[in-house]
């Protein structure tokens, strides 16, 4: 018996089993304790409230949402708003971060200094303060909507945001858009194929006409087939607001700006460290092959730097996504704002917090999974 206990493998398994048991029983204790205390205090529990009518408006919505819809749909609206603003912020922050990170290493001292100031100013102030700053700037410096500035014909800017003429969207337009996306994919494939052929045969052929044809061809065909009608909806001054057109709201703008800029500063530093991590010899070697600095960066250094960049970039994306919850402070209806309202109208705080935690956890795990997959793809292949 004691022999068995001293067996390393048995012990390893034993500790794992004990740990799992401990976690499970703690979880069970907490759950049962909560439900009992709630019942003792006559506080409503359960998720039945999700089916009830929400009865409040949400100012920005990607899906069709009316106050007569259920709380579940209101929460979904909030989740989509969170995903929408974070996704856009990730894209912009990555582009800006890459440019600024490269600029930090530029040979031009002015550009280098500007990039330095940009990074330090944005990295060292809490995001929430920047959100208040951007929102405050938009709302206090721009005139109210009734005195909106007409930047260009039919383009208005005011403290209620930017309003521009918009095309009336029909299903035909969606089909053309899909054709355009297909064209983009096709053109990438064509380019890849032609470059591969060039490398294999050494025969130089002009690539761009074919790529352009692949890109625009499907869309042109779709235009002729579906013939989408082009009508423009111009914003007009109503009694209170500009009606019609497309409207970019200040809450969304301030949040997107705040998230993008603050994340881009972090990403810039990540990019810089990634580039610096690549051995100096790689630069020298590429130059000896006749590549100029730009080509060397793109073809030799950045692909190697990616290995160092991807893991911290994943963390940057994750924290950006979670930081979007600060939206509540400036009135953008993200998941937290909608959940807060829901918790108040139903009084079911624990359920609300649980839903928020699950959503944030779920999306964070998806981001991690994707980035890990990408990381494995760019990692050094050992054969």
């Amino acid at each position: 018996m004691t022999r068995l206990f001293y067996d390393l493998r048995v012990r390893a398994v034993l500790y794992q089993v004990l740990a799992v048991l401990g976690v499970v029983s703690l979880g069970w204790y907490l759950a049962s304790n909560v439900s009992q205390k709630l019942a003792d205090q006559n506080i409503a529990t359960g998720f039945a409230f999700l089916g009830r009518e929400a009865g409040f408006v949400i100012s920005t919505s990607l899906i069709d949402y009316k106050p007569t819809d259920s709380f579940a749909r209101a929460l979904l609206t909030g989740v989509l708003n969170t995903i929408f603003v974070s996704t856009l912020a990730v894209v912009f922050a990555t582009i800006i971060g890459l440019l600024v990170g490269v600029a930090r290493l530029s040979a031009n001292p002015l550009l280098r200094a500007l990039a330095f100031v940009y990074v330090e100013a944005l990295r060292n102030v809490p995001l929430l303060l920047y959100l208040f700053l951007w929102y405050g700037l938009i709302v206090t410096t721009l005139p109210p909507v009734r005195e909106a500035i007409e930047l260009a014909p039919h383009v208005f800017i005011s403290n209620s945001g930017v309003t521009i003429p918009a095309m009336n969207w029909t299903p035909a337009h969606t089909k053309v858009l899909l054709a355009l996306v297909a064209g983009a994919v096709l053109s990438l494939a064509v380019r890849r194929r032609m470059v591969a052929t060039r490398v294999a045969t050494g025969v130089e052929r002009r690539v761009w006409p074919w790529v352009l044809l692949a890109l625009l061809g499907p869309a042109l065909v779709a235009l002729l087939v579906f013939q989408p009608e082009i009508t423009i909806d111009y914003p007009e001054k109503g009694r209170f607001r500009l009606t019609g057109g497309a409207h970019l709201k200040p809450e969304f703008t301030a949040l997107l700006m705040g998230l993008t800029l603050s994340a881009s500063a972090g990403i810039a530093e990540t990019v810089r460290s990634g580039i610096l991590s690549v051995n100096r010899g790689q630069w020298d070697a590429s130059r000896s092959l006749g590549l100029d600095r730009r080509l060397a960066l793109r073809l030799v250094v950045l692909p190697q730097a990616l290995r160092v960049i991807i893991p911290p970039l994943t963390s940057a994306y994750l924290s950006l996504f979670k930081n979007s919850s600060l939206a509540t402070a400036i009135g953008y209806p993200d998941l937290v704002l909608v959940t807060n309202t829901t918790m108040n109208q139903t009084g079911q705080a624990i359920e609300g917090i649980a839903i928020m935690m699950l959503v944030y956890l779920g999306i964070s795990l998806i981001i991690s999974l994707f980035m890990n997959w990408y990381n494995a793809r760019v990692a050094l292949k050992e054969r």
Partner: protein
Amino acid sequence: MKKYKALGLVAGVGIALGLGMVVSAPAHAQATLDAVKKRGKVLCGVSPVAAGFSYADNKGVRRGFDQDVCRAVSAAVFGDPDKVESIPLSTNVRFQGLQSGEVDLLSRQTTWTFTRDNSLGLDFGPIVFYDGQGIMVPAKLNVKSAGELGSAVVCVLPGTTTQQNLEDYFRPRNIKYEAVVFENSDEWRNAYFTGRCDAITTDRSDLASVRAVAPDPKAHVILPETISKEPLAPVVRQNDANWRDIVSWSFYAMVAAEELKITQANVDTFLTSKDPEVQRLLGVNGDFGKMLGLDNKWAYNVIKGVGNYAEIFNKNVGPDTPIGLTRGPNKLWTEGGLLYSPPFR
């Protein structure tokens, strides 16, 4: 950073509940009173900033109508109105703060509704302020009624009844509007003052507070429509009937005092009154204090320390204050209002 705090509080309360630390949910009668006496002060959940109702004056002392409701309870329990510790709670965390035992009572412009009464494990005390939701717009917009607000943008606070009232009012009238929701009341007021919103909505009493702090109070008009009933009442936990009685009757003592013409200044002269109801109220006769578990002079202490209803109304929100509210439905029943105290008998 207020927002952060509120979020933290929600999370904290969630975690505290999760950890099963709902310790201060006393089970036996008088448990809250015992806890309050032992602690030596009443923990009172109030609005963070609401001119006239609860706000810190220039010396940092909290004043206001809601504050005086708490002070009445303190006076009844301790004979001293100032043994109150005020804990500002945002609209979003107020009920959780009370449920988790962070405060003993909530006196925070809170509307009594069916759902709140029956799903939160809380009980409402007497209605201390009869209010209704109103809408305020800048005077220069020249809006005469709420019906003209089609396509307007309205600033609202989350987690309040106002958001749903607005929808209930506009939906059947087929008026389209846009609501911008702010977590923080400072941001909410500011968005209205800067013109991000065309209108702002909340209880009429609260609108008066917002107008009082506007850069130019005369530039704003409150529209005539009252779109909802907003009976504001203090809130206590459901499991302590004795504490609820103390909160209720501390308030009724102030209403009864107004009805009997007893004021903070003249209450001593009433100690020799021949009126049996006055004698019972002031503890000259009978043992009403004991029935509540308090000193027999509890109601005397409330009136002496805080005043009668008219006094706290006029001092905090009355016509001579910047808030400038008239009594309206908050007059005594004998004067055509709704205020009515059950008899002290």
